[in-house]
């Protein structure tokens, strides 16, 4: 690896700074995490992830089995087989590909297989390839943990942390990035040196629960009603550990890499905050710029979306007044009266806090959410806080 040090003192020691698109950051993360199996199938806007991985494996830069599968259903089934045999698995998909794999998502989660998969969010046909989180959010109940990355740096860093989390809990993880706004947009990314990553995330250790021809077992056979609930109970126990572990791994990551991540991020949230925008992904960055002119507006960025980090949210909002207005920003449509974010927020606050909350649908199917849109949202929240607002429908 080329370790050319340009400045005398780097912002992050043992890192190399590069300009790269989000998809390339995701592929780079798979490489430095030493994923050993990559089943692949193309779909816009994910394609450059699997193309880049093909390049990395083909050139020998990365030691992995890379297999061009016949569909996303097969991609996830192959990922499942590989993980069953103990490999560290990575792949990526988007929209229709994710919908198509739905059956397998459940199987992977309920087989309790660790893996990290990137989803570059886009919505359902009628054809649309642009940024929207309806695909991953509609897979909320498959049992996968879901993170949403705000920047390419965060995507890369979250993939590293997700392997730790996934392998510890034996629960698969999605790391979601925004189509085009992230996937195809170049940013500065600090790439940790391989030995630094190795110290944090050692090569995958076999636990003894993998299939092993020397110790034949049957996996996945018919489970009678007497036993089935026990599997779910064990799963539930571990799902309850995700939020704390996310925060703990985020802290460990900070010690090692110097960048801090938690389940949620609170920006300008204090006792004087009047309005809180609840965001995920890159809209957060836009909103961060806009609230510079609105000292009374804060942002609650949800990084861990599933399981929803209730405790971290309550903690982040502990000082805010009860009359603070919460604005859920939804770049998704669940075919329901409110979006996915609102549903989760209501559940998180139930029996804990009461806030007036409004739900804002915006950015659907990739429609840009520029600062002016955030301004509009803030204006509406202040002047005409209807329960549900659709932006730019007139």
């Amino acid at each position: 690896m080329n370790n050319t040090e340009t400045s005398t003192k780097k912002k992050y020691p043992r890192h190399t700074e590069k300009v790269m698109k989000g998809n390339f950051a995701a592929a780079e993360a798979a490489k430095i995490c030493k994923a050993g199996f990559i089943p692949a199938y193309p779909i816009t806007p994910q394609t450059t992830i699997v193309e880049e991985l093909a390049e990395k494996v083909g050139s020998g830069e990365m030691d992995a089995a890379y297999v061009n599968m016949d569909s996303e259903h097969s991609v996830f089934a192959a990922a499942m087989g590989s993980a069953l045999a103990g490999e560290r698995v990575f792949t990526a998909t988007s929209g229709q590909g994710l919908f198509y794999a739905h059956e397998v998502l459940h199987a992977i989660a309920h087989f309790r297989l660790p893996m990290v998969v990137c989803n570059v969010g886009r919505p359902s046909i009628p054809w649309n390839i642009w940024s929207d989180q309806s695909d991953s959010l509609s897979q909320r109940d498959t049992g996968w943990i879901q993170f949403y990355g705000e920047s390419s740096q965060e995507v890369l860093d979250t993939i590293i942390q997700s392997y730790i989390l996934s392998e510890k809990l034996e629960i698969p993880v999605f790391v979601v990035l925004d189509a085009f706004y992230q996937s195809h947009t170049s940013e500065n990314v600090w790439i940790p040196d391989q030995d630094l990553v190795n110290e944090f995330l050692p090569p995958k250790q076999l636990k003894g629960t993998e299939i092993n021809p020397d110790k034949p077992i049957a996996v996945g056979g018919l489970v009678q009603p007497e036993h089935y609930g026990k599997f779910n109970y064990d799963f539930w126990i571990d799902i309850n550990r995700v939020e704390n572990l996310t925060n703990q791994i985020g802290e460990d990551f900070y010690q090692k890499f110097g960048r801090k991540y938690q389940a949620v991020e609170a920006i300008n949230i204090n006792k004087d905050t009047k309005i809180i925008l609840v965001t995920i992904s890159s809209i957060t960055t836009t909103a961060k710029g806009v609230i510079q002119h609105h000292p009374e507006v804060g942002i609650l960025k949800i990084r861990l979306f599933h399981p929803f980090p209730k405790n971290s949210i309550l903690e982040a909002l502990k000082d805010v007044a009860n009359d603070t207005l919460l604005v859920a920003i939804e770049r998704n449509f669940m075919g329901d009266k409110v979006g996915a974010m609102m549903q989760e927020l209501r559940e998180a606050f139930y029996g804990e806090r009461y806030f007036k909350m409004i739900d804002v649908f915006t950015g659907q199917g990739g429609k840009d959410v520029p600062p002016i849109t955030i301004e509009k949202i803030i204006y509406k929240a202040k002047n005409n806080p209807e329960d549900v607002i659709w932006i730019d429908m007139e």
Binding site: D70, F76, A77, A79, G81, S82, E87, A218, G221, V223
Partner: protein
């Protein structure tokens, strides 16, 4: 002269107490298969009767590893397992798919074609019992012409001939594909051994007896399988890189009706008004056989 003993299982790899029906093909074919492949084998099982026969959690009826998987994706699951075992230095482990006709001709067809096209180092065994039996005898695209199923009941019996899976799989230009019958055990066992010694994608299709599904007396299950071969309803052949070789030529071809009349699923065809349908079945059977012989003649040596 002593009778041929080549079909005796000397090293049993299946425990007693399997959950199959009496006369089921699954149990017998797996006993022979596993006795030849040995314990260093991972069986990948999509939804089928064998999902049940193999035993509920945490049981395992075979001395070997079983991975139960989703219906449509056994070859894909097996692909992931194969590549990972290879990377673990276990190239010697057999990875074998055990699928039904529904899981092969229909829902798993794409994953099968994908794995065959990629040349995955897998053995694919399809137990073709001609319907979705595990869910109660529904029509698949392997269901024979004229058969009654629960989704083609009574006079609404299946009116299409099954698709030529062997032709399709041969077109993938794989090293080995063969049909086999449980009434021709030496042939079946020899084909397993041959497949085992080869590398790449290999497929065996076994004519699967299913007494409840075919409405056959369990005691007649092997007899019906034998008549299927003797009547050319189910010819025994192998294909290596698209080169066909017929393995058994009936000395005197029996009429298809000899095999069909023992199966309740074809009972209605024997009514006077359906006589022409039986004739059609015979015609198509003869056509298939002639075509097979022609394909055998066509043989072109495969050079790489």
């Amino acid at each position: 002269m002593l009778p041929a003993m080549e079909f005796l299982i000397k090293d049993e790899k299946v425990f007693s107490g399997g959950l199959s029906c009496r006369g089921c093909g699954w149990s017998l074919l797996v006993r022979h298969l596993s006795s030849i492949l040995g314990e260093n084998t991972v069986y990948v099982v999509p939804a089928s009767c064998f999902s049940i026969i193999a035993g509920p959690y945490p049981l395992n009826e075979i001395k070997g590893t079983i991975v139960h998987t989703i219906f449509a994706a056994a070859p894909a699951t097996a692909t992931g397992i194969r590549h990972t075992l290879d990377r673990q230095g276990r190239k010697d482990t057999n990875v074998v798919i055990l699928a039904g006709d529904g899981g092969t001709f229909d829902i798993g067809f794409q994953a099968l074609s994908g794995a065959a096209s990629r040349g995955e180092n897998l053995i694919y065994l399809v137990n073709n019992n001609g319907a979705y039996m595990n869910t109660g005898i529904q029509t698949s695209s392997a269901t024979p012409y004229g058969a009654v199923t629960t989704t083609n009941p009574n006079s609404n019996f299946k009116k299409k001939f099954p698709k030529d899976l062997m032709g399709i799989i041969a077109a993938h230009n794989i090293p080995y594909a063969a049909t086999a019958s449980l009434a021709f055990m030496e042939d079946y066992r020899a084909k397993i051994k041959k497949a085992k010694e080869m590398e790449g994608f290999r497929l065996l299709m076994v004519d699967g007896p299913c007494p409840p599904g075919h409405k056959v007396e369990p005691a007649n299950s092997i007899q019906v399988a034998r008549l299927a071969v003797e009547s050319n309803l189910y010819p025994l052949f192998e294909v290596e890189y698209q080169n066909y070789k017929v393995n058994y030529r009936p000395t005197k071809q029996l009429p298809a009706t000899e095999c069909m009349k023992l199966q309740g699923r074809f009972k209605h065809l024997f009514k006077e008004e359906n006589k022409h349908l039986l004739e059609e079945t015979q015609k198509v059977t003869d056509y298939n056989w002639r075509r097979l012989l022609a394909l055998e003649k066509l043989s072109v040596e495969f050079v790489l």
